[in-house]
């Protein structure tokens, strides 16, 4: 295996975080390439050339119909086999923001329950609008490869449709039991609070059920999250760096480093 794992940053019309996401993977030691989805649709077998697949943030196909839905249908309808083989080959898949919306709606992240359909979705924020703000996150399980060694992170969210909603209590319980609800919002000023009571708006920025900000699949190698780790890899991105609060590197870099380290 090459010293620098190859990362495919898969973009569609309207993807707009591909450049900084590629930059974050490069800084973490990866070798990132940005491909238009049409290029992969022409030759799905080429996915096998990569170790990491990342679907970055943005507004794929304008988020028309629903956020991530059209890109998700493309994956489901034309790339499902290639992605499944990729997954089965012990490789990693990451979806950030719109990428999370795409993954969850494609069925590649959470398995459909037979006869009942998908166990969860992402829908409109309770506020009914797009919001950009920094949130505090807590890692709830050691299951996810991308979150190894991380306890909390300060990252920005920027979305309109990021509210995590399970199909019902049973589906939520099943995801919790499998330790798939790996990342949650917690109070901005006190990362040790909110366990019992839940985290109110705006620290939970969208009304997500059980404060869920990110989930992984049953293997822990496919991960989707609403916040943007690529927007906090450097101290000057920290919202209070002028108050001496920032650390080197930014909290989000570890997510990318974990992915790269997985292949060393």
């Amino acid at each position: 295996m090459s010293a620098r794992p190859r990362v495919l940053i898969l973009r569609a019309p309207g993807t707009n975080c591909d450049v900084e996401t590629a930059f974050a993977f490069e800084r973490a030691g990866g070798q990132a390439e940005r491909w238009h989805v049409n290029r992969l649709l022409e030759a799905p077998q080429r996915l096998a050339e990569f170790q990491i697949l990342c679907i970055p943030g943005g507004f794929s196909y304008g988020d028309d119909v629903a956020a991530g839905r059209i890109f998700a249908n493309q994956l489901r309808r034309h790339l499902a086999d290639a992605v499944r083989q990729f997954k089965d080959a012990d490789k990693l898949i990451l979806g950030i923001c719109n990428g999370f919306q795409v993954l969850i709606k494609s069925g590649l992240l959470l398995d459909d329950d037979p006869g009942l359909g998908p166990p969860a979705t992402l829908t409109w924020n309770d506020s009914g609008r797009y919001e950009d703000r920094w949130v505090r996150l807590r890692v709830r399980s050691a299951k996810c490869v991308f979150l190894r060694g991380i306890e909390t992170m300060l990252l920005p969210v920027a979305h309109a449709e990021g509210k995590f909603v399970p199909r019902d209590g049973v589906a939520l319980e099943a995801l919790a039991r499998e330790e798939q609800l790996v990342l949650t919002y917690c109070p901005l000023r006190d990362e040790n609070a909110g366990f019992e009571t839940g985290t109110p708006y705006p620290d939970n920025p969208n009304g997500s059920v059980a404060d869920v900000a990110g989930v992984c699949d049953k293997t822990g190698r496919v991960f989707g999250l609403m916040p943007h780790p690529e927007r906090h890899i450097d101290p000057f991105q920290h919202p209070q760096w002028t108050r001496g609060k920032a650390r080197e590197p930014g909290d989000g870099l570890q997510v990318f480093q974990n992915a790269i380290t997985y292949f060393s």
């Binding site: 900084e20 930059f23 049409n38 304008g62 249908n73 829908t123 950009d132 760096w241």
Partner: protein, 968 residues
Amino acid sequence: MLWEVDIYPRPDQPNLAAQRLKAEAADLGLAPALAIAAGWGYLIQGNLDRSQVLRLAAELLADPIVEETVVAPVGDEVLHRPRAGLQQVIHVLLKPGVMDPVAQSAKAAIADFGFEVEAVRTLKKYWFSPLPEETLQWLCAKVLANDAIEQVLVGPLRLTHLGTGSSYEFKRITVSIRAMDDAAMERLSREGQLFLSLAEMKAIQEHFRALGRDPTDVELETLAQTWSEHCSHKTLKGRIHYRDESGERRFDNMLKETIFAATAEIRRRLGQRDWCVSVFADNAGVVRFDEQYHAVFKVETHNHPSALEPYGGANTGIGGVIRDPMGTGLGAKPVANTDVFCFAPPDFPAERLPPGVLHPRRVMRGVVAGVRDYGNRMGIPTVNGAIYFDPRYLGNPLVFCGTIGLLPVDKARKEARAGDLIVAIGGRTGRDGIHGATFSSAELTSQSESLSGGAVQIGNAITEKMLLDVLLVARDRGLYHAVTDCGAGGFSSAVGEMGEHLGAEVWLERVPLKYEGLSYTEIWISEAQERMVLAVPPDHWEELSALCASEGVEATVIGRFVPSGRLVLKYQDQQVADLDMEFLHHGRPPVIREAVYRPPAIRPLLVSQWPENDATGTLLKILGSLNVASKEWVIRQYDHEVQGGSVIKPLVGEASDGPSDAAVLRPRLDSRRGLVVACGMNPRYGELDPYWMAASAIDEAVRNCVAVGADPERIAILDNFCWGNTDRPETLGSLVRAALACHDVAIALGTPFISGKDSLNNEFRPESGEPIAIPPSLLISALGQVDDVGQCVSMDLKEVGNELYLVGLTHDELGGSHFAFVEDLSGGQVPKVDAVRAREVFKAVHRAIATGLVRACHDLSEGGLAVAAAEMAFAGGLGAELHLERVPADEQARHPAALLFSESNTRFLIEVRPDRTAAFENCLAGIAWGRVGKVTGGDRLEIMNHGSPVISADLKLLKETWQKPLRW
């Protein structure tokens, strides 16, 4: 078959659309008890059976976890069964031809299922309990739909098919202008929406008489577009005879002799160190940034479309200005957006709204949403802005949108060459925006909605994003010689400008259309969005075409640049226009205008009428006034972090909610060099003296940049003049006076203007009564630079025990101030600018910041020292104590009102660590400063005058007062 798929939130989910609607109806005074259910849906026309449509509903159109659907052929009674017990159903559909991005995407996604789909439209569906007819009408007109783009259908839908346009049969149209008298020509200009003056019509008549033929309709339209105020800026570039109290002056080209002249003088003085690259020439101004990149900046307005359809107007406003940097040089990559809005106060009584005017709250919501949806989708951070409120913006809101880009230094020049193909790239052409250029040069009337509906459009950001993605690749591969955007005037302006020194032949039938039925003239002048024009050498066409195809972007050869000096248009080999480029670009008779400025008598502001013992109350009133109040509700709806370069954010401080003076970003992730973005605007000073209003706006924009760490010797500025009807000598006089200040202050500060734009005739003409003109509104936007973003500072107080310095001299300048505004006082001296001294202050403050001596810095603007101190304290969550007797001030300013609230320019409140005070004071040699107080911690702001308390307030109360008014 025409199917309908209706979608509703499941009963256990919030109905956000209904909630929003209720809130908006309540805003306008309708009883909040209104019962509403809301849904949305799709009309799908195609050869589809029921099982296929059910599958689309389940797998594409709705989300089964949170939504439920009703599927049936249009007209089926199941679609109009009462919902939630509500019986009255209302459908809202976009008018045919209005851009519907969701329908476009849905159609493509349905086709991806392998289904035969012909057309898709979206709809919105509302359910009410039976309402009185009058209430229903009111709801439809004021809340549910905008007649400019939408149609309301009360009751069940009765459609049988979706129109897809009817075919066009070619017919060449000529206009017999040669035989017309003056009255006939004036009527033609007005009724044909050419908006040309009689003198201009006569010049055209004369030209065609000499040619011995009449013009075609498209020739006339091309001339009208090219000669429009919007495209040629003929008033300000025209001859003006200006008089004021100190004499008179004759301009041959007013802008050239004021604003452009200032830049020329600054560049001359800089000599070898000149850092301007291209000014007032390309689609945006260009300055040097680093070894590899230039920075480009352009700010545009989109006022008249935003008055009629706020969402679409603002949406296409930001979409349009983004294409300016993309069309500068060989194409810059957009890295930041700015937006500044002017609205009437949102609490304007709904019942007093004149006909044809949208409520300011609705305008504001729509404009913010329009900028949000386009900028966020483009992946460009919106980092800086401002909102000003004044009742005179009621029928004529202002929407300024700006875009900054990075341009590789070797891609700064462009030139179309003979033989190059004219390539249209991006969106398709439809009837949208026809007559936008001439329309935006005309006054709004209460009839505007019906007259100019075609001028209103909706953008499709993803089409533009796709265009941007391929454009930058094509640029780097060197596939074209020149690029420009299709803005006002569409192909007419874009091809006309690119081929001005060459000549062009265009084959209009080749232009890809959204739907059938467009005439050759409509194709030529359509202002459909998301289109650009490239000059492509024939041997690169194949590669460009393949690149575009690989990302699903449409590119089409529509003509060729030829060295003929003529603009020739053909439709299916029939010649429909043959214009001399020389006449087109230089045949317009000069506009000659009178301008006069009569200074109003200066009346003293009677401070004695102010209850001095309630300074805290005054401070709270200013903090809660709309112009000063927090704009967080707006700012958070914009993505200001995308691209990862944000360093100083629009909201700063302990809780990320303090008002930053300027934004700082790193446009290159691999470098610490930063761009600084800020603005300045003071319409309230204009009533006292437009000269000092302009000077103050420049000082404010520059000092905002300096406050965060920008190098004052490297700040470029842009002007946007929005004025009333400049046919009135007094209105034009106030504009000229502002331009004179721009000239003087820019030179003195060494801040070159690099780009600008004007929008005149910003007046609303109600059905009866006098026209309402906007106040003179000059926006100055500033683009600064910083060597190392690690040197930047924010405005929030940092540590207990630090010293507070006031730098800059306070004068008794309460005229036009927010103090006067909230206390309802008039008169007084308008803030002036001593630009020579200001430059020294800026340099000194910059020296201190760059050497790490400053912990926090905030400029003093609306509300003066008291407001700046309050904002710094609550943003940092730290109390402070100030002593007015230590404020450096001239003699007349020694009373508390002036010391607290005067808006004198060029002042900063600065926090310094105790161990850095000596070094800091060394930086300030020769400059007025005072050590005015301390960061005390705690939760109060205390301001003393000679030991007695003048202001004492809890930080929570100050912050809440400031946050509450616009927390929607």
